[in-house]
Symmetry: D2
Subunit: 278 residues, 4 copies
Amino acid sequence: VNTQLLLISCPDEPGLVYKITGVLYHHAANVTSNHEFVDHETGQFFMRTAFTGAERQETILGELAAALPASAIVRLAPQQRRRIVVMATKEPHCLGDLLLRHFSGDLPATIEAVISNYDDLRPLVEPWGIPFHYVSDKDRQRREHEMQVEVIIEQYSPEYIVLAKYMRVLTPLFVQRYQQRIINIHHSFLPAFIGANPYRQAYQRGVKIIGATAHFVNDELDMGPIIVQEVLSVTHSSSARDMAQAGRDVEKIALARAIKLVCEERVFLSGNRTVIFE
Amino acid sequence: VNTQLLLISCPDEPGLVYKITGVLYHHAANVTSNHEFVDHETGQFFMRTAFTGAERQETILGELAAALPASAIVRLAPQQRRRIVVMATKEPHCLGDLLLRHFSGDLPATIEAVISNYDDLRPLVEPWGIPFHYVSDKDRQRREHEMQVEVIIEQYSPEYIVLAKYMRVLTPLFVQRYQQRIINIHHSFLPAFIGANPYRQAYQRGVKIIGATAHFVNDELDMGPIIVQEVLSVTHSSSARDMAQAGRDVEKIALARAIKLVCEERVFLSGNRTVIFE
Amino acid sequence: VNTQLLLISCPDEPGLVYKITGVLYHHAANVTSNHEFVDHETGQFFMRTAFTGAERQETILGELAAALPASAIVRLAPQQRRRIVVMATKEPHCLGDLLLRHFSGDLPATIEAVISNYDDLRPLVEPWGIPFHYVSDKDRQRREHEMQVEVIIEQYSPEYIVLAKYMRVLTPLFVQRYQQRIINIHHSFLPAFIGANPYRQAYQRGVKIIGATAHFVNDELDMGPIIVQEVLSVTHSSSARDMAQAGRDVEKIALARAIKLVCEERVFLSGNRTVIFE
Amino acid sequence: VNTQLLLISCPDEPGLVYKITGVLYHHAANVTSNHEFVDHETGQFFMRTAFTGAERQETILGELAAALPASAIVRLAPQQRRRIVVMATKEPHCLGDLLLRHFSGDLPATIEAVISNYDDLRPLVEPWGIPFHYVSDKDRQRREHEMQVEVIIEQYSPEYIVLAKYMRVLTPLFVQRYQQRIINIHHSFLPAFIGANPYRQAYQRGVKIIGATAHFVNDELDMGPIIVQEVLSVTHSSSARDMAQAGRDVEKIALARAIKLVCEERVFLSGNRTVIFE
């Protein structure tokens, strides 16, 4: 069955659900799931509706535009695997986990290509038949390097870009180009240990829980909207190295969950917070 | 603000959300939250809507009855603390935790009275100014005892009855009388260790996780619809007594969460499963 | 049976366990549990041994002093409930949970008294027969107020002081007096949201996990050694108020666990980190 | 540094730790970590000691044999990666996760070979340079098939055999041959849903938590000693298929943790329970 997703974000006002479901009903859509949420802090309304059957999508979008506030953001998208490009550096754990889920069919996405600023992870990627692009950043300006990366990304027309331990800061130009389409995995809770070697810091502070945060990338480093946070317990006998390993495990889990949520179009932005329909 | 909850369960068919929200819209209701779910296994539709403003409740219910399938179950109830009666035996942990949450204002319910088949817990209850009724079951037939309990329950007109470690099996007559209104806490996952001394069994089996299950009571012992399950880790160095203590902690948490969900009218029944709008 | 706990912390060197267990063996001690740990970062050795049978404690301590490095810290203490004084302000959740565990027998401590800078929590405490001392801090210098509190504390000779949401910063003089004997519960992970209204901050940052940290108090605000950290998940639909309630639940659990660990003498300090033998 | 592990299990009696550490001390061993546990139910003593420096292993074992009860089980083994053979059928998630950890260096084991009763997983294994053996069980007696498998296993002299979703019951002869050396991952808590299609059963029972259990294999199906149990939450909106996917995630985590614990020689058997030194 060909399922469509209707995704709406607009200022709240009376009758929104009635008007939206009315358009679908009159087009004989068969609604299979429906989620709404009003952020009472910002007065913003969010809705995700899955339906089958109604086919005149242009007309539906037109009627919705007429019924909703002018500032409404309305998308209609098929429920199918999203195209993603994964960027990585040297650490294999997140990338490998995504490749494995791709192989198992557990990821609602197809990995179109992997781009890395080092060549180390090539043997992890190529056996799966996925293109691996090595774009060295050595002796290159940040923006110059990024533009090479962008050329490759564009070949694959991905819907989302996943930073699976890509250890290079992106410029505002890059972030702007892929606004709300870049998912990053951060090695910690946010807010938390800032800067280099967070597990060393966590060890020295004697924490009992290790976390990881998957978030959208925006212009402020590590300040983008949080999608998923995961935790694992550690003890005094965990060395900084053990904590780093526990950290890798939570990173894998948090990133995979975030990709699943985003690619199933379950994540909306409400300012710097996310609304997630599970 | 006077918030009303509209709670609907009926066979799924096209246009339900449109029709329901239409009735509310035409009565100028201000919908503040809305949840729907279709159980595709059973074809049953569930909806919980919170709204303010619309006051002609009789008319709303009449219009909904006309719009919905004949077998629809429709309730309209104020969003306010529910009246509960708590039944207990000798163990203080769950009862005490509920009393404390009652005092803190964290429970969306008022504890109208406590009924026990032993007198042990009286000093835990009376300082809070809550009536404690001791109804001994000694030398009494099960049904005879229950009828005495029912007389006391009826004085308080509770919406829900909470079994906070009430260690006596209820007869089908009692369960029938308070259909889907009795919440029990079970000392284990369900399905799991059956019978007496479950923590002894768990210890001997060497389990690494202890659980508890809050569920509605129905005619089959421990087989009622599950509302909440919680877990805690244990280790080889946990004795059966330590496991029992960990068990008390998860029981407290699971029962309190279940009461909160039920008293906020977030729990619907779909056959023997629950649908929970959080 | 009269169980003794032997608690040792000293610089690591070869043969420590052999020498220590030798002293116990020659005194015919029956060792029932034994934990050791070497912090390889600091070269410090920690040991907790529970034994029965050996009664000439002075001699044992003397022989250990002769066998161990001069800087060793050696304690011999009976395994019995510790005396604690609880300090609180206005929030009932942590204090109430401790009183309940005290009543249930789940706390390896006796609550000797409660001291508060407000009178609000008196009705929560007195029904249990526990002294409640109201020491107003209104119009008093910080140190002047503390000295009044210290007079009351001294009447009860507590082994540990528990800050169960005591919302007043302590002076270095107070902290010094009860060095490594004050347990605090902090409304967050550490490191984390600093300053007032942390749940408001957590809400605005859109976090998906709420935490709490129980720690020893030292001279730096919220920087003392961490004993226990606990977490709960929250979602976009959790208001700042819901997050605060989830926060209260994890605070209760983290504080109770920390008191249990400390009062069973399972917590050692290794610099600003804790070593915990569970 | 060449670290050795001393692993002892024997009936408890006074002075065991003293005698054992004495032997090591006199051989100038540098003990880097030490764990002991007495199971007071069975009176059995367990000890795991890591040390460097002492090299006359034969003499150490001889002296220990003289000092300990006659029924003591004493092993001395180097702390190094263990050799494992993985057996699988058609599901890639556990096997793939192990291969990935192998590649990342996170597994304290080397995967010597993979054996499967189907050929499906070959493309997952061979790119890593690990031998894949397909031994069809079609039209073969159970024991006949197993004997072929045993021949292959023996080529690799593995210390442990990991059943990574190997969907075939083993005969007592096979289990006997690799006594306490076979690790299995079970799709559920134990005890729990028995029989085919456990996630269908879990869905129908409406459970809110999904678990997995890693255990040693013994003669009774799914009754071997539990090593690790893990859980994930599910909701009413989780289909049986979603539950199966959550189940795959916990299976991966539980199996990887169990292999780590076993290969680091942290797991002892006490009857049908495990003692685990973390």
